[in-house]
Amino acid sequence: MEEQVGKIWHNIITRMANSRHPEAAVHLEQVKQTTGILFRALGGDSGLQIESAGTTRHGARRSWLQRLAGTNQQTELAWRDERSLRLPTVVDCFPTPELNRDLYLWLTALATGDSGTEQEWFQKNQQLTAQTLAIYPGLQPRYERLVAAHLKQRTHSDDLPPKEAAQEEAIRNALLNPGSEDHLPLAKHQPQPVPLWLHPAPPLASARITPSIEDEQNNSSKGKSKELEEQHRRQAEQVTKPEQDRGLVAIRMENILSWGEFAKVDRGTEENEELDQAADIAKEMEQFSVTRDGKSTAGRLRFDLDLPAAENDDQILNAGILLPEWDYKSQQLQPDHCRLLPMLATKAEACKLPDHLRKTAKRLRAQFQALAPARTWRRGMPDGSEVDLDAYLRFTTDRAAGHIASADGLYRDLQPGARDLACLLLADLSLSTDTWINDQMRVIDVIRDSLFLFSESLSATRDSFAMYGFSSRRRDPVRFHQLKTFDETYNPQIRGRISAIKPGYYTRMGAAIRHASEILKEQPAGRRLLLLLTDGKPNDLDKYEGRYGIEDTRHAINEAHHLGLQPFCVTVDNKANDYLPHLFGAGGFVVIRRPSELPKRLPLLYARLTRS
């Protein structure tokens, strides 16, 4: 009896130690930038992204009280795979935010040393730990703090059956003296998770212990349902950045919400209802993933969409243009891989500038007339606001020397300089632009307004510009909508075309950029700016997603550089910091945090970019 009470008591203690510390929680979002920088500085691949790992059910022995309470059966793991470094969405296992943050940084440092070799989890992590500490001695104190704090939380081997106890001893030893234990003793249960270690990617239960079917399903759908929870947790918290999570899945979910049966969900209010719906969607997604291939389906949930009937669609201008595509795996350009269809909204009716943009347009036009073209002093003018001292001196010296000097051209004047500049704006019209950003506007509306204000401003500068929009449905067709060519002047007809843009299909950025570069490169201007307006990363129904899409886009951007063009990207994707630097370089893009500001900011950005 006495012993029994002691056990219960111990379990209570353990549970307290094991319990989460929400008040000290650190979220991945808070440390994403820091971990990203640390990862890349310590030699991590800059093409990799930092993503949330989601929770995985671990099969370890839970303490009695935990089992009773049903807690502590899920753990957040970290691992690294081909396209990302996965870190826990939240770390709250330690009682202070400092320690929780330390854990993020530690895992990040650990991951930089991971060369991806297949190795037993237990040995691999010891070896990685030893190696990391040897290369970065400054991490030693941090590691020691973490180990000390973590050891306090682990159920002690004295309280475990003999086999589990031996296992536990080995792990403790491995943490204290990394590299000292060469194998993990067998036991019936999985060992208690070690948050300080990386998991072999992606987390599958150890081969020695066959997981239940339920566990496996759980694993495979985890990332997704977790992301939904994530999204909703954030919404429920009324975070002011509603579009924070705009990975593929989030975008798709937006679309589900904005279509059909889930239509008109007013984001940010009615959170309970929303959460219910999210749960429904999550369930559906789970089914989707399980029936599909029984494996993890991260990023797989996509819909094929039918193209509109020809009579309802824009007119196709020619039979199409074949363009190559870059395959990063084979490091080869695949010739004639995509077919791009130039299209024109011939039926769009000419129209005036929408009323709600009038005032802004007027102000921008005035600003642009004064600000954009660099004004320069013209010397030697017959008339002007100031005396041209150089010319005057020359005139007087010549006359003093007895030369015949002419007195015209002794003034200088401030005149608008001619700008030797051409800009092609390429707008992403993919389906994700159907996303609502607030009660009144979708991304596409913001893009439309931006195109209007951009044209209004640029026509005030006399800068030469063109505008196109694109979306794609696999590699054929890549729809390339002509809004304004370099030869056309901005007029009501063009406004009609802008007004007719609508969300299309997917985002095969590489092909669109390649074709836009071809057009821009024909312009005789000294500076040629390729401005890409987008709301998310490259993706399409086929393999054009993740790294493949990003690397193809990057290749297209590099080609543009080689043609002497200057690509620059303006995006409303808050996640863009993950991949855009890899595509455009640190100074080659800008993220507009509040999409509704895009229309006003785009022209100003253009002015800044093109200021000489």
Partner: protein, 270 residues
């Protein structure tokens, strides 16, 4: 106005320069064959030092012009000035270098407007002449005259760049941050810091350099390393020296600088 230094040859004391490769030989060849030289490279990687070193080696003075977008052709060539006796002509740095057979160094040449740099054209082809329109004089450059221009092809120069017709008049040389062994010699040579600490600083600098383009616009330069080493040698706390001389100058964004400090801390055991 023009920033102008005329460094006189100091044959007695050659500025310390650690070669990274064959650049000194190329410079000498270009000099002997009267070819103008274009040096590209990030800030603080030793371009200016290299030119001063070579000039001293060849026994020529250097005229350095830091270019900016208000720089006019007159700033380079010269202009009439007023004195109590009337007006007189005053040579610009370029003209002076041509007359004296010196080295004229235009730093950050892309900052200058393109209509300014066209005055270089007749000087940089086989005519090697400098017509001074205002005085009607045409100078023929002596064999000792050499034109060197430099710029940093970074993203902040996104929309700048040289006209191909200007660029193609030069022999090009690309500078980058030196290999760790060389950089170590530069650090020890410049500051007298011991090799162990120099190596540590260089490993750290290379970690920060990996962030260029993705997280930072500019990479930590050799110049900043020299500063850091100098502070540390002076007895300043190493972590704080790194913050002051390697982290703060790289970014204004607080989140970025605190992340950079994490990188510093990982490298530097107390």
């Amino acid at each position: 106005m023009t920033t102008l230094f005329a460094t006189q040859p100091e044959t007695a004391e050659l500025p310390f320069y650690q070669p990274q490769g064959d650049e000194a030989t190329l410079f000498e060849h270009a000099y002997r064959h009267q070819l103008p030289l274009l040096i590209k490279g990030p800030t603080g990687c030793g371009k200016t030092r290299f030119i001063n070193h070579m000039a001293a080696r060849l026994g020529r003075p250097v005229y350095t012009v830091a270019c900016h977008d208000d720089l006019t052709a007159a700033d380079l060539v010269g202009r009439h000035l007023i004195s109590d006796k009337g007006t007189y002509w005053s040579d610009g740095p370029l003209t002076r270098a041509v007359r004296e057979g010196a080295i004229c160094y235009l730093d950050e040449v892309v900052e200058a407007r393109k209509d300014t740099t066209v005055v270089l054209h007749p000087l940089t082809d086989d005519r090697r002449i400098l017509p001074i329109e205002r005085t009607g004089e045409t100078l023929h450059a002596p064999p000792e005259f050499m034109l060197v221009v430099s710029y940093n092809p970074g993203y902040q120069n996104l929309l700048k760049g040289m006209k191909p017709s200007t660029r193609q008049r030069f022999v090009g040389l690309q500078f980058d941050f030196p290999e760790p062994d060389l950089e170590c010699r530069i650090l020890t040579g410049e500051t007298g810091i011991d090799e162990a600490r120099a190596r540590k600083l260089i490993t750290l600098a290379n970690a920060l350099r990996a962030l260029k383009d993705h997280d930072l616009e500019e990479a930590a330069s050799t110049r900043l390393l020299v500063y850091t080493a100098t502070l540390i040698l002076g007895g300043y706390d190493p972590l704080e020296a790194c913050r002051a001389a390697m982290v703060e100058p790289l970014s204004d964004d607080c989140e970025t600088t605190s992340a950079l400090m994490e990188v510093v801390q990982a490298h530097w055991a107390k």
